[in-house]
């Protein structure tokens, strides 16, 4: 039965498929290969990451002095709106979908995602939506200036009176990216439920796959709320309806519920896959099984459930009645429990391990240390009386950037470095990688730590000018910001040059357990010649237990411990 299944697939495939997996032109086609789509997602979103980062650096340039003197106030307001929107909708979401796309089918022993064409469609909506949003810089009224929340009534004020204005383009772009995410979520959930290899029970499924599932379930229940809110906002803006328009009797607070019902869980959509990356990277580079794997896996799903009932903590200072403040304070704090389980599990994983400080390991460890800090300030923010003081101040900005940059972006870097040899068959340059890590870690601390004291002193977020008493910490933060901008250069250099002429390494340079390492690097089109038959759980370090009972790809010769003893010998 070994090779028979491959041949019909060869004939049935009706997709344009220019050349072998080493043909770079495939990245510019409507390819349905999950690995091509994964890299398309990652590269596209990284370009948007640079764009969003550029906006941030202009903002830090403005904030280096108290007066509004570098850019006009309207430009500053447009910049923070676009920075937030681009970073979330066109960097963090898509890059993680990209990593998930690349890794989930490989990790569960599938040949592709459940709906390959849908997968390709959901990717190609991302550049379209992104260009649509960027095009708002070219229209007369400029881009949206209402922040990435687009709270009415400010978002409904249209100074140019044009029908095509920055806010309309923003809503359309977000709606398109939302539809793309919903399609992606359907695809992921179906794939994970239906396409795990024979023998891969839930508790043999890697923690990364669990966390992607947990994240994508949130997309399914949450996104309809945001999309609905966005459509009502669009109607208010263009068709004169009065859902949220106060002068026509609408209620702007209702929008906040629609918005945060999705947008808080959205934070977990972003952080859960990163938790998954930490859970995959640590065991490999510490040569030790993931401590408390089952609990870590299940805690992802617990986060999915709890996160559906915490959204009002963004609205404590809004017109929110006391009972609601108290209820959501308790639910918000409860999220600390499953998050804590994961952190303790990671610390116990490296405890007594045999660690090597490779670049992915450094980024994972750095990300975890930042996450611990961000989690603790998160509990501060969950407490109503404290939140009423720091609400909408730089304390909040510092907190969520510690989550998004300190933990999530560092986790993404860890993932990219860790699976780079799998994606390309080549090794990145370790020296450049370590330089990248140091710049990123120091830059993160320099820019985001000072935001906490600024917030406690009472500096509101989103201000283009501020009182001179805040000047010192803002200068420090700006220096950190420019350092972070600089930190992307060794990364880009590393990725490009290593992909072109890096040292060729084998299929499993990390000697890692996991189905993705049982195929060639880069993997062949359908990943496995024969579907793997899984006979044990992930993370079999130190046990020399085989992972599969067959040889999915006969050409794999390295790290025979992960195969059956008789086949390997």
């Amino acid at each position: 039965m070994t090779n028979i299944s491959l041949e019909p697939i060869e004939i049935v495939r009706g997709q344009p498929y220019p050349g072998a997996p080493d043909n770079w032109k495939r990245f510019f086609t409507f390819s349905t290969d999950h690995k091509v789509i994964g890299i398309q997602y990652i590269v596209t979103s990284f370009i948007f990451f640079l764009v969003g980062g550029l906006f941030a650096m202009i903002m830090r340039g403005e904030l280096i002095t108290p007066e509004a003197d570098l850019v006009d106030r309207t430009v500053y307001n447009a910049l923070f709106t676009m920075h937030g929107s681009v970073m979330l909708f066109f960097w963090t979401f898509p890059v993680l979908v990209g990593l998930g796309n690349y890794l989930v089918p490989l990790m569960i022993g599938a040949r592709d995602m459940a709906f390959p064409r849908l997968n390709a469609v959901s990717f190609w909506m991302i550049p379209i939506a992104g260009i649509l949003m960027m095009s708002s810089f070219l229209i007369p009224g400029g881009p949206s200036q209402s922040g990435w929340w687009a709270y009415p009534p400010v978002s409904l004020q249209n100074p140019t009176n044009n029908l095509i204005n920055g806010q309309v383009l923003w809503i359309l772009s977000v709606a398109i990216s939302g539809v793309s995410s919903i399609m992606g979520a359907v695809n992921f959930v179906t794939t994970i439920f239906k396409m795990r290899a024979p023998g891969m029970t839930w508790f043999r499924t890697p923690a990364f796959v669990w966390s992607v599932l947990a994240a994508q379930l949130i997309q399914l229940y949450g996104l309809p709320s945001l999309t609905g809110g966005a459509i009502m906002l669009l109607l208010d803006l263009t068709a004169g309806t009065s859902f949220f328009t106060p002068e026509r009797g609408g209620n702007p607070i209702v929008y906040q519920h629609f918005f945060w019902f999705y947008s808080h869980p959205a934070v977990y959509v972003m952080v859960l896959p990163v938790f998954g990356i930490f859970s995959e990277v640590l065991p490999v580079h510490a040569r030790k099984p993931l401590f408390g794997y089952r609990v870590i896996a299940v805690s992802s799903v617990i986060i999915t459930v709890i996160s559906s009932a915490v959204w009002v903590h963004h609205m404590f200072a809004s017109a929110t009645p006391p009972w609601m403040r108290m209820f959501f304070m308790v639910t918000t704090m409860l999220v600390a429990v499953p998050s804590g389980i994961k952190v303790f599990g990671w610390v116990a994983t490296i405890w007594g391990g045999k660690m090597r400080f490779t670049t992915p390991m450094l980024f994972a460890l750095g990300g975890i240390s930042n996450w611990v800090f961000a989690g603790i300030t998160g509990i501060f923010l969950g407490s109503v009386p404290i939140d009423l003081h720091v609400h909408n101040t730089y304390f909040v900005v510092g907190h969520f950037h510690y989550v998004l940059y300190g933990a999530i972006v560092m986790g993404i870097y860890a993932g990219i470095y860790h699976w780079f040899p799998k994606m390309t068959g080549r090794m990145y340059y370790e020296g450049l990688g370590k330089l990248h890590f140091v710049l990123t870690y120091v830059g993160t601390a320099l820019i985001f730590l000072p935001m906490h004291p600024l917030g406690l002193m009472g500096m509101p977020r989103r201000v283009a000018s501020y009182d001179p008493e805040f000047a010192f910490w803002n200068v420090v933060a700006s220096i950190g910001g420019f350092l972070l901008g600089l930190s992307t250069l060794p990364f880009i250099l590393n990725m490009v040059s290593a992909w072109v002429r890096g040292e060729k390494v084998g299929n499993n340079p990390w000697r890692a357990y996991g189905l993705e390492w049982l195929t060639s690097s880069p993997p062949s089109v359908e990943n496995y010649e024969e579907l793997p038959l899984v006979i044990s759980g992930p993370y079999g370090y130190g046990r020399s237990e085989p992972l599969v009972s067959n040889v999915p790809n006969p050409d794999l010769t390295e790290f025979p411990e992960s195969l059956t003893p008789q086949k390997a010998s």
Binding site: G141, K288, A317, P322, V330, V337, G340, P385, Y466
Partner: protein, 328 residues
């Protein structure tokens, strides 16, 4: 013997962490603006508790983490695996139960603080569509007497009513008893003050950092908020909810005065005929809408896009003579 040493080291580390946490909890008071209201003392105490516990947890996790990073590394040619320890049920139960108990405790303490502020404090008096939902809070079985300063202020003098109107981009304060208006907020010390917050256009945030409370101002809704200034001085009121182009300039000074000074100020203000106040947003807008008006201070490197014009400068009895300056 080895076990004893491990226990000893861990105990010493725990004591050091506890000391560091105590120190941080004490330090945390200095990270804030002055405590100018009775409510701010409650907030700062709560924050100090969170800082202490937060430091304890942070160091408790980071300590073993860093120990691992230093001592649990593979030697250069060691390609073997570490012992396959997959979990420990007792350990996992402990580190699930401890955070659970901790966050429930912190929630409870936060609730108590909130009650102490809110029996007559700001949040209980946010009148919304569900007033009956507020009632049960009074019937809670545990102590919910307000903080002493607040109680004393309420008992000695009647609550001072002040109407606050927010708009793009100005604050106007109306003192209904004397029927005077001002763009600077003057408050009597040691007296309970009730603000009625109204917005004429978009959402704004009424935020005085020295008082530690912020509250959105919502169009079509009257939101009441009570505070107790306890320290004379000049503080800053900032718009904390992004409200459009000149949002960052929508600030004013808050002057907390002794009862005598306050009465004098009221009398002086009511003697003045209303005049147009200085308004930063309107000023900047007029500068930018007249190209070549020649004021280099207000020129920026990158010109902007069209904006909603600011509301005309408010006409009030009292306005500070110059641009308001911020306290140090």
């Amino acid at each position: 013997m080895k076990k004893l040493r491990a226990i000893l080291i861990m105990s010493i580390y725990a004591i050091l962490v506890a000391l560091a946490s105590l120190w941080m909890a004490k330090q945390s008071y200095s990270w804030f603006p002055p405590e100018a209201s009775a409510e701010s003392k409650l907030t700062d105490d709560l924050f100090s508790l969170f800082t202490g516990l937060g430091t304890f947890i942070y160091l408790g996790v980071i300590g073993p983490f860093i120990y691992s990073l230093i001592f649990h590394r593979a030697s250069k040619y060691d390609r073997s695996d570490a012992p396959p320890i997959e979990g420990n049920t007792w350990l996992e139960v402990i580190w699930t139960a401890t955070p659970l108990v901790l966050v429930l405790t912190l929630s409870f303490v936060s609730y108590r603080t909130y009650e102490k502020m809110s029996i007559r404090g700001p949040m209980e008096l946010v009148h919304l569509h569900v007033p009956q939902m507020i009632e049960p809070a009074y019937a809670e079985p545990f102590d919910s007497t307000p903080q002493q300063d607040i109680q004393k202020a309420v008992e000695t003098e009647p609550i001072e009513q002040i109407d606050v109107t927010a708009r793009q981009w100005a604050w106007v304060f109306h003192y209904p008893e004397n029927d005077i208006t001002s763009t600077e907020l003057h408050l009597p010390v040691d007296r309970r003050v009730r603000f009625t917050l109204r917005s004429q256009d978009v959402l704004h945030g009424f935020y005085i950092p020295a008082f530690r409370v912020s509250q959105y101002v919502v169009p079509n809704e009257d939101i009441n908020l009570e505070l107790t200034p306890v320290r004379t001085g000049t503080y800053r009121l900032r718009d904390s909810m992004y409200s459009g182009t000149y949002f960052a300039a929508n600030q004013t000074d808050v002057v907390v005065q002794s009862p005598n000074d306050y009465q004098q100020w009221l009398a002086a203000a009511s003697a003045q005929t209303p005049g147009s106040a200085f308004n930063q947003a309107a000023y900047e807008y007029s500068q930018s809408s007249e190209p070549g008006s020649g004021n280099t201070k207000d020129k920026v490197a990158v010109r902007g896009w069209a904006t909603i014009p600011p509301a005309p400068p408010p006409v009030v009895n009292y306005a500070p003579k110059h641009e308001p300056d911020s306290p140090a």
